[in-house]
Structures are given as structure tokens and as C-alpha cells.
């Protein structure tokens, strides 16, 4: 299944998943054959707190249309506090992107546990839907490369 809008354009989505919960949740979605669009590619990080705003901006710069970060639920971080830091950092970053006039839906944080394969799949479907509706990322992209 791939999300395609009317013009045949397909979104490009990067998902950062923490190794302990969300990446395992994605594996569980896989073993449960719970599909989500192939447009979503997962990058494994040890913890949501490893995700630097630079990575997210870089993804957009290089043509991503949406970036989602998944981590353990607050309170369940494998490293006890990583996702709390990630939560603050991402809140700040997303707020700044909003302030710069970037569409709000392009970034998202979701907490997905290792047991939530269904939630992982549902979240990814929903996010892909949002990004497809938002269309191509023009505001954040590297315009030069796209020409």
C-alpha cells in the first residue's frame, strides 16, 4: 500500500524509532502483518532523546515531507528520562517550525510501546494520511535540488 494523491505524488516520510519500545512496536506490527504505507522508512535510534533537531531539519532539507519521532511512553523510558528530554526538545522545535510558518502536521511525536504493534500501524497510517493531504513539502525543502 502506498499513499498516492491525485497527481500521483507520493510522500516521503522518515520515522525515528527508539530501539527499546517503538522499534520493537514496529517489529510487532510487522509480525502481526499490520500494514502501513511503504513511504515510511524507519531509522533506529537508541532513544528518542538521541534525535537531534538537526536530523529532522536535514530530512526536510533533503526532501522529506514528514518526520515522525516515536519513543517509549513517558515514564517507561529504557534510560528512565530520555523521552522526557525528547518531549521538551520536540515541543520547542515544532513550535519554532510553526512560528516560521511551516505546516503543523509535518512533524509529530508519538509514544508507542513494544506491545503496541497495532498502535504503531495506526499511527503510521494516520501520519501518512496527514502528510498526503498536506502535499509536497515546499516550504522546508531544498528548492534548488527539486528543480
Amino acid at each position: 500500500m502506498q499513499m498516492v494523491n491525485e497527481t500521483g505524488w507520493k510522500p516521503k516520510i522518515v520515522a525515528f524509532c527508539c530501539n527499546w519500545c517503538s522499534y520493537a512496536g514496529a517489529d510487532l506490527a510487522g509480525s502481526g502483518r499490520l500494514s502501513y504505507p511503504a513511504d515510511i522508512k524507519i531509522i533506529r535510534v537508541p532513544c528518542s532523546c538521541r534525535v537531534n533537531p538537526l536530523f529532522i531539519l536535514r530530512a526536510f532539507e533533503r526532501g522529506a515531507d514528514g518526520v515522525i519521532l516515536c519513543g517509549c511512553h513517558p515514564g517507561d523510558c529504557h534510560y528512565t528520562s530520555g523521552n522526557y528530554y525528547a518531549r521538551r526538545r520536540m515541543t520547542m522545535l515544532f513550535s519554532m517550525l510553526d512560528y516560521l510558518g511551516i505546516e503543523r502536521g509535518r512533524t509529530r511525536v508519538e509514544w508507542v510501546s513494544a506491545a503496541e504493534g497495532a498502535k504503531f500501524s495506526a499511527t503510521m497510517n494516520d501520519f501518512a494520511k496527514t502528510i498526503t493531504e498536506l502535499g509536497e513539502n515546499r516550504k522546508l525543502g531544498d528548492l534548488r535540488c527539486k528543480k
Partner: protein
Amino acid sequence: MQLMNEGTVARVVGWEKGEGECDWTPALFESVQEMDGFVYGDYAGANLSKYCVKMNKAEGKTLVVLKPCDTLSFRQLIHEHRLNRDNFYLIGAGCKGMKDESGLLLKCKTCKGKDFEIFDEIIDDEESKQPTAIMDRMEGVTALENETAQERFDFWRNELSRCIRCNACRNVCPACTCEKCVFDNPASSVASKAPVTDFEENVFHIIRAFHVAGRCTDCGECSRVCPQHIPLHLLNRKFIKDMNELYGEYQAGVGEEERTPMTTYTKTDAEPSIVRERGNA
């Protein structure tokens, strides 16, 4: 000067007259004779805290003249171990609001107060205790927040696309004291000296604001020195406003607490989705 004569301090960081009448620049005075060029007054807008970082390892004490708002930067640099309090003699200088050729500086229009956060000695008068703030500090941020996303985008495109990556903002910023900036480091994979793409200046300014978030005292130097007159302080103030609203009032450089809102958390912090739920889309 007396302190220098007595040998208590080895040098003074202050201001001297520059090329224009209203153009006073930071200066280092290493002898009593040199002190003739020392000036203080309406055009001493520059924040000298950043210059102290270089003096931190110099032999003997350095005397620094700090305005009330500058003391916040100085204290913050102590928190970050960039300055050693014992190496400096701090003169707190009363401030009646600083000017440039076009009048009161923006940072003085939104003055944060006249208290000295840290000092050895204060030289001021009654008049310099009067508040100079004539507008709300967050006015500009709020106005932008109230615009539509497209308006905001157009505003920032217009502003940031003028950036020539001269790095003046970075060089003057007391919170930017990295030994080597990540954007200058070829090994970082993100180095960029000049913008190659339309988005790179965006990345630079967003990340710079993010890096100083929680440590920025809102001294306003970035906007003051920008040759392209980009209102960079609006980026920093956005972070300050968000942190104040979401994580409680916080002023960098005040008090003994070394943790900033970005190096702490509570279990009940707002979720990032709050950004989608508030304000103008």
C-alpha cells in the same frame, strides 16, 4: 583606574569611541594611559560579557563594566563554566537606556530591569534606576503568532533570505561560545560556511536559536549587530516565551540554578502536540 594602579586589576574591558559619533565599540585597556580612551554613556550598548571569555585565562584580574542586563549574560557564562568569577572585578554601571543613531536600542525599549545580578561594585544614580521599558518584550512574538502561517512564512522568508552568513550574530552572542561551531566543523556533516540552498540559513538560525534556548538571556545583541537588520531576537524570544508558558517562568542568568528548562523536565510536561492545538494555524 585606581584599581589598576594598585595592581588589583591587570586590565579593563570597556568601550571606546569608534568611527561614528554614535558608534562606540568594546575595547581592552591594558594600562592607565590607555584608559584615557575609555568611555561610558548613551552609546555603550555593547554587551561585554562575551569578551570576557577570552580574558578568563589571562594573568591577573580583569575589570569589566557591565550594565544590568549584561550581568545576566555574565552570570550565565559562570554557570556554563566559561568564566571564573574570581578572575574578574565587576563594575555594575547604571544604565539610562542605550542608544544608537536612530534612538533608543530595541533591547532597551523592552528593558528587563535595572537589577544587577552579579557585581563587586555599583556605580549608578537615581535616574539610572528608572525603568526604560516602553513596550512589552513579547509584543513582536505575539504579533507574529497571531498572523496566519502563510504570513509568518512570508515574513521569515523575507527576513532570513537576506542573511549573508556573516556570522556577526554568532560572534557577538554571549551564549555562542563553542570552541568550534558545529556549522564550521567539516567533520560534523552539517558544516556550511555560506548558504548553498534556500533552506540552509533557516537551519542555521533555527539551530542557533535552539542551541542557545534556555541559556539566552535575551540581551538582544544578535539583532543589534546584524548588518542585514534581521530581527533575530524574535527567534530567541519565541523560545523564551514558549518555555515560560510551558515550563514556568525562567530567566537565564538569574540565581544559582545551573539547569535550564532544556536540561530538565517534569513528568507532566506538555506533549509536542500542543503546538498543533494552539494559536493560528
